[in-house]
Symmetry: C2
Subunit: 503 residues, 2 copies
């Protein structure tokens, strides 16, 4: 028989509904549902008086705004948000787990990139832009390149334009301009671009090549400015010629056996619901632990979604410097939100709330679950490339289409994306594996979801079993298997995070 509710920890005084609950449904013991409670929403397991803490994951999600009876529906209107953890009181190193699960596989079939700490999962010609102004001409050129040149180079998977909204009309020397500049610079280094650089500029923009390229790479083989060409046809010809040279080089690259220590996987969740923290994210966390145990790199991110569980993250950091860095990143984001007149409660979406996530604390605890249990080997700023392997906390914004490109910049070869409400999000530069949190969604979006973690909620599979299945699929996708969104060619735009002013 399927379970009615899922309770995470013995001390919890709420559980979440595995399916829609109806008034009078017997839940457990003598508790009966007092309301129509939607799937994934919380039901009270005890009586609570106004002001008492509501506990899930053993953590205070909020305080009861009114008296609550056992069997009542608890949602975002029922809770007062607790203060977020005090950054000055974080302690590190208190939860360093050594006994990670052992993976059966330790290699994948990838593309080695000389000089790059990571190997690619795809063999893509990436064309980077210094500025949005060039995108119109570039799109015309790339349509021709894809139709006429790419078929001549069958070992190359795709041609991807890194089109972005940055490059000019921006305060390029503002303190926070470091974010978009670093992101654009590091995206070019993504291993899926095979170590080839192709940069198209206009010629009068603020984002000059020296800001995003190494001095030795700034030459006519890698960079052209449209303003140097006598008219449209000559621009197109020049772009095609540069592309063909790069395609010829990329075409010589082949998949070889690579240790998993050369794979970087980004983990993200989006359109989350209350199952995210029960099914999809714990399964992702188990896969993450397997990857880390195999010597690979697993990145988790999304500052506003870990802010309320930051103490749990700090405990998994073995050393003071990385704990300090964590505090610095969190403080930066606190200030950034405050300057914009908001706080971390701005994070949850209407979909999150509909999916039973009542507060950012609840969302955070679910979000953190996807980091598994491994120690955190390094904390990096948004868009930075880690210098260590293992589990990395990458301090990016939490929005799906903002976080993904940031993880690309940090070297991600593929992404695991856990979704509760369902999103077709995908990136052209790295494949995205879609994990759903509920069986209903898998059945509804058969052709868009790769892995159904809903089987954990229904008791069909354990977190370990599903996490192992996901780990194996990660290795297969890294080796060339196409997840759903890649097969369907669903590609989101590359959104660059720019907290600095536009001029």
């Amino acid at each position: 028989m399927l379970k009615h509710v899922v309770k995470m920890r013995p001390e919890d005084n709420v559980a979440i509904a595995v399916h829609d609950l109806h008034i009078g449904d017997k839940i457990t013991g003598d508790i009966v549902a007092n309301a129509e409670i939607p799937q994934a929403h919380k039901i009270a397991l005890t009586n609570l008086t106004k002001g008492q803490p509501v506990l899930r994951y053993g953590v205070i999600l909020g305080y009861a705004k009114e008296d609550i009876h056992a069997g009542d529906w608890i949602n975002e209107t029922s809770l007062e948000l607790p203060p977020s953890p005090d950054l000055s009181k974080l302690t590190y190193g208190e939860n360093i787990k050594k006994d990670l699960p052992k993976p059966d596989r330790t290699t994948f079939m990838g593309y080695e990139v000389p000089g790059n700490q990571y190997s690619g999962t795809r063999n893509i010609l990436g064309i980077q832009t210094t500025v949005q102004c060039v995108v119109g001409v570039l799109k015309v050129a790339v349509d021709q390149i894809k139709a006429e040149l790419l078929p001549k180079y069958p070992n190359v998977d795709d041609v991807v334009v890194v089109s972005h909204a940055y490059g000019c009309g921006v305060a390029i020397d503002a303190p926070e301009a470091k974010f978009p500049i670093r992101e654009i610079k590091n995206i070019m280094k993504n291993p899926n671009f095979g170590g080839q650089l192709m940069v198209i500029g206009l010629g009068c923009e603020k984002l000059t090549p020296n800001r995003i390229m190494e001095a030795e790479d700034i030459n006519d083989d890698n960079l052209l400015f449209l303003q140097n060409f006598k008219g449209f046809e000559k621009m197109i010809l020049a772009i095609r010629q540069m592309a063909e040279k790069k395609l010829a080089i990329l075409n010589t690259h082949t998949r070889t056996e690579q240790p998993l220590s050369k794979l970087s996987v980004g983990f993200q969740c989006g359109g989350s619901d209350a199952f995210s923290g029960v099914t999809g994210n714990p399964a992702a966390g188990y896969a993450s632990d397997l990857l880390v145990a195999a010597g690979g790199t697993a990145m988790f991110s999304e500052v506003t979604e870990v802010r309320d569980g930051v103490n749990f993250i700090a405990q998994r950091i073995p050393d003071q410097p990385n704990c300090n860095k964590l505090v610095k990143e969190m403080s930066w984001y606190d200030n950034y939100l405050a300057k914009g007149g908001v706080d971390r409660s701005a994070n949850p979406t209407p979909g999150n709330r509909k999916g039973g996530l009542s507060t950012i604390v609840e969302k955070s605890m679910g979000s953190i679950a996807k980091s598994g249990t491994a120690p955190i080997s390094q904390v990096v700023s948004a868009g930075e490339i880690p210098t260590k392997r293992g589990l990395i906390f990458n301090a990016t914004p939490a929005g799906d289409f903002t976080c993904g490109p940031m993880q690309l910049a940090s070297g991600m070869g593929l992404e695991v994306f856990v979704t509760g409400r369902g999103t077709p999000y995908n990136l052209e530069a790295a494949p995205v594996i879609k994990v759903c949190t509920r069986t209903d969604l898998k059945e509804f979006w058969q052709d868009l979801i790769d892995v159904n973690a809903g089987k954990i909620a229904t008791g069909e599979l354990s977190v370990k079993e599903l996490g192992t299945e996901l780990f194996n699929f990660i290795v297969d996708v890294a080796s060339g298997e196409k997840p759903a969104a890649e097969r369907l060619k669903l590609f989101n735009d590359i959104v660059i995070f720019n907290p600095a002013p536009m001029t």
Copy 2:
């Protein structure tokens, strides 16, 4: 004989080089060039001691950092920036010109849009998105729609996706979120979309339909959420079906004679040089005056590029409320830049400096020239739709690809873009006329430039003659003639201005 230099006002103590000047070139009177002075750069016409003001357009561009001799080259390294005009001391109504030039044409052939104050210059199916998440699926659908459906509806010019980086992962209730929300909402109302609404959402995003659509428009005819469809194929089918219904309606629309009072033209400049304020922008200003005299709407924008000449703008505002609004908009931007750790000196680009623009004051005086001489009938916030006709100051950021979409939101049917350095910038939702400031650029970019205002610098045509030619071309393009970038199908992405935090 061609002129060596252009001096704008009798009181100016500098002039700009019409072409590259060489050491020893006789300039005027007994002044001889003391340096190799690049085209468009400034040459001193008198001796100046350290601290003395350098005047162009009768305005102080800056103060001499060192002693300067007549014939010296003056560039961005020579000048100390003056303080920007004090917003608390602006006076309005002191320069209200009534005698605008008289246009020969007062109508264009456009698309009337019931309920819209403006008529369209194109007949486009615009597909709006609530959130970036849907863009991958939408692009697949639109490729099919363009290939299979659009040919069946020959009166429809194009299908355009309003793809943007907003909609989720953002602080939707932040004070400054009003900017992106208003912009997205109003872009849908652009007359070139023929009054048809087609909005694609995901279903769990923060930018809910009620934030960007009128209550009466929120229905299944105009809006669909991908999360409501059982898998990819059903999503594509639903998008195609909605698109086909809209295409059938748009296909019944035809061009009819419309008064110019129903045309809104956005004026912008980008990649500016020191000729922008001598040739391209004054010609654009003359065309703007003709359009205003014909009852039409001319918008100029770019806050950081008018900030240093804001007193000249205030003088052309006839009333206190609009002058107050000007002050409010300028103050907002001053604060916005200050919060980001910069000021208006962050505006000029490397290309501007290479093009002889030494300070933001000099850039501003050139930029303002494109507003002509008409009184300013209304000041609107970025992305607002004016309620008055005539000359509108639209307080947008100055970056080309940020300002253009803002002007689309304000109802622009076509754009006039003046460029000195050269840019292929263009929008898919409204044609962009490219005016160059120098004959060299026209010769170099024959196929990308529509109107050569360089003829003013060489004395071949007057501002009046070239402005009239531009006005006529505006009316022709509004009536269906394609400018260069539209013929070549060069389309930039739509960049939304979001000064509020990402979460």
